[in-house]
């Protein structure tokens, strides 16, 4: 059975004044036990909102509007209060982009671990401070930090170290699903590479299920086994990372790949994507990417394409789906 099965997830931001924003629209997704999946897209495409929705972290003015989120067989979309807390205890954690600033500046790291262990203690656990320190030290070691960090305050640590502490805290309760929301965006390239490697190694070793949310397709392709591409609140492509790199199906994915180049190459052709993502407070007619798409046809502006199977993944694109149909017809 899949660890997480979401169906028809919709998230709406409904501010007191102003228009509603449909941030996540009709997303279906399935995560198998132990999978490492990437979620990419430009700012404002709803990727973080989806991550928050899946871990039930949404706060007003955002709320879930319909949809089922089955975690380990139980629908967590409608859980509240103690039952939700119990699922959290046992199930999922999130590492935030600003996780490095999410540590309490006036408490040492030891306190952060003790706080989690005490708040979520099960009956019969040893809660003496010595036992908690041992557990905290082991977690710090698993993210390649010195156990001496337990005595440090957040301001004494570098950004990369603080993000590692956040990851260790997320691991504290041995969750089965961890959502990493842009965990390296605020770090410089060398530190980013090291933190991503730690996440990759941890995931392989502890085989938890993970979602890596990032705007950086390079980072995601490097770390994950499968990539979901989001655009304007919808998943437009879903493929194994290797296949996606070899042959992106959706024109948006293709354009994203074109934004990268090897700085060592002889000639550099750096692409960009003209225009900007659509305003999600307006109703969308047709494919949301059509105004920026080089392949757009009349049908793209009228009918929103469904996710359809193509090759080793799925894609929501009229043109690509038709091309592949034509190919299969030619080859009997």
């Amino acid at each position: 059975m899949a660890l997480l099965e979401a169906e028809g997830v919709n998230v709406v931001y409904e501010p007191n004044r102003g228009q509603k924003i449909w941030s996540v629209r009709d997303v279906d997704l399935t995560l198998e036990q132990g999978e490492f999946v990437g979620l990419v897209g430009e700012s404002g495409c709803g990727k973080s909102t989806l991550g928050f929705a899946l871990t039930r972290m949404l706060r007003p003015p955002a709320h879930l509007e319909g949809g089922v989120i089955a975690f380990d067989g139980e629908d967590i979309a409608t859980l509240e209060g103690e039952p939700l807390r119990r699922q959290r205890r046992n199930g999922f954690a999130i590492v935030l982009q600003s996780g490095m600033n999410a540590l309490n500046p006036v408490r040492d790291i030891r306190h952060h671990f003790a706080d989690i262990f005490r708040a979520h203690a099960r009956g019969g656990e040893d809660l003496a401070s010595k036992a908690l320190s041992v557990r905290g030290a082991a977690l710090l070691e698993s993210v390649q930090l010195d156990p001496g960090v337990l005595d440090s305050f957040p301001h004494e640590l570098s950004g990369g170290m603080r993000q590692r502490v956040s990851i260790a805290l997320a691991l504290a309760l041995q969750p089965r699903l961890i959502v990493f929301d842009e965990p390296t965006t605020a770090l410089d390239v060398i530190v980013q590479g090291a933190v991503i490697k730690t996440i990759k190694d941890l995931q392989a070793e502890k085989s938890f299920t993970a979602i890596l949310i990032s705007h950086d397709l390079g980072v995601v392709l490097d770390a994950t086994g499968r990539v979901m591409v989001m655009y304007a609140g919808r998943i437009v492509e879903d493929q194994p990372s290797k296949e996606l790199l070899r042959g992106p199906h959706h024109p948006y994915t293709e354009a994203l790949l074109g934004c990268y180049a090897d700085p060592r190459a002889d000639e550099i052709h750096l692409g960009g994507i003209a225009g900007s993502p659509p305003d999600l407070s307006l109703p969308q007619a047709g494919c949301s990417f059509a105004p920026r798409c080089p392949l757009a046809e009349d049908i793209c502006r009228e009918v929103d394409p469904e996710l359809t199977a193509l090759g080793s993944g799925t894609v929501a694109c009229h043109v690509r789906a038709r091309e592949s149909n034509a190919e299969t017809k030619v080859r009997p």
Partner: protein, 293 residues
């Protein structure tokens, strides 16, 4: 390509495409053996050397990249070049101006000639001011233009940075713009007072990958068309490659490698440069050739 301070102090030959540039003379920026130390606070009076004996010259109309990881001293160097910090030792000269000796009036004139583009386009614009106000202030303050003339100039500048049609953007507030559009406003503001040198500190690192190419191309175009010099500070080697022709790699405040950008990136010699190159997450790192389609 070894560091050779003596060679870098001699003005480099001006082989930059300056054909379309206005006739005003852009002086070279000469950074000569600059060191910056900070005293740490607390009982132990230690000093931290942020920048350690750095020398380089930016020829008129040239673009230089300053690369390095966090804490390598890139931004400290930028602060000294823009006059907001003073070097502990060494000197910075912009033509005849000794930057470290500037005081109020001289610093003001210097700021007209040397402008900065910051990393965070969300924090660099006052959220309560319209685009027109933001861009017209330097026109009025530095160039002494009347409100009406400044208005025309704002239109012209917005067009230059690709915010067209200008009247559609002039009345907007920062929150109504995307990150890329905001960064274009920041660049328009920097251009407003006709600077000779632009110091761009990580101008694209907070932007979406899809928006970066546009900003990089804009910077390259401005340098070519206006003949201004550019100091591009970054840890993004791809951006450095696209925009600049010379590169300086800093590690712990010291220059570890320098030379032509393409050459250094293709034939890095210092371990630190190689480490920086390896850290670049390109989707193609895993395979040899780009995708078929």
């Amino acid at each position: 390509m070894t560091a050779d301070p003596a060679a870098s102090q001699a003005p480099a030959p001006v082989d930059i495409r300056q054909s379309g540039a206005p006739s005003r003379a852009v002086p070279p920026l000469v950074v000569d053996s600059v060191t910056k130390t900070y005293a740490t606070r607390g009982r132990r009076r230690n000093t931290v050397t942020a920048v350690d004996d750095v020398s380089f010259t930016i020829a008129p109309g040239a673009a230089m990249a300053l690369v390095g990881a966090s804490g390598s001293g890139k931004s400290t160097l930028a602060k000294m070049i823009t006059g907001s910090e003073r070097p502990s030792r060494g000197s910075i000269r912009f033509g005849d101006t000794a930057v470290e000796r500037l005081r109020a009036g001289g610093l003001r004139e210097y700021h007209r000639r040397v402008q900065m583009v910051f990393q965070d386009p969300y924090g660099a614009l006052n959220p309560l001011h319209t685009v027109e106000y933001t861009v017209s202030r330097p026109c009025q303050n530095f160039l002494g233009l009347s409100a009406a003339k400044a208005h025309d100039r704002v239109d012209e500048l917005l067009e230059t940075v690709g915010l067209t049609p200008p009247d559609q953007f002039a009345a907007k507030l920062p929150h109504q713009l995307s990150g890329g559009q905001r960064q274009r406003v920041v660049i328009a503001r920097a251009l407003a007072c006709e600077p000779d040198l632009i110091v761009a500190d990580e101008p694209v690192s907070m932007l979406d990958v899809s928006m970066r190419a546009g900003i990089l191309r804009l910077l390259a175009k401005l340098r070519e068309e206006r003949g201004l010099s550019l100091l591009y500070i970054t840890h993004d080697l791809l951006g450095a490659r696209v925009v600049t022709d010379e590169i300086l790699v800093l590690n712990h405040g010291r220059v570890v490698e320098r030379g032509h950008t393409k050459h250094v990136l293709q034939h890095p010699e210092d371990d630190y440069t190689i480490k920086l190159l390896d850290a670049v997450a390109t989707p193609y790192a895993a395979q040899e050739s780009p995708p078929a389609r």
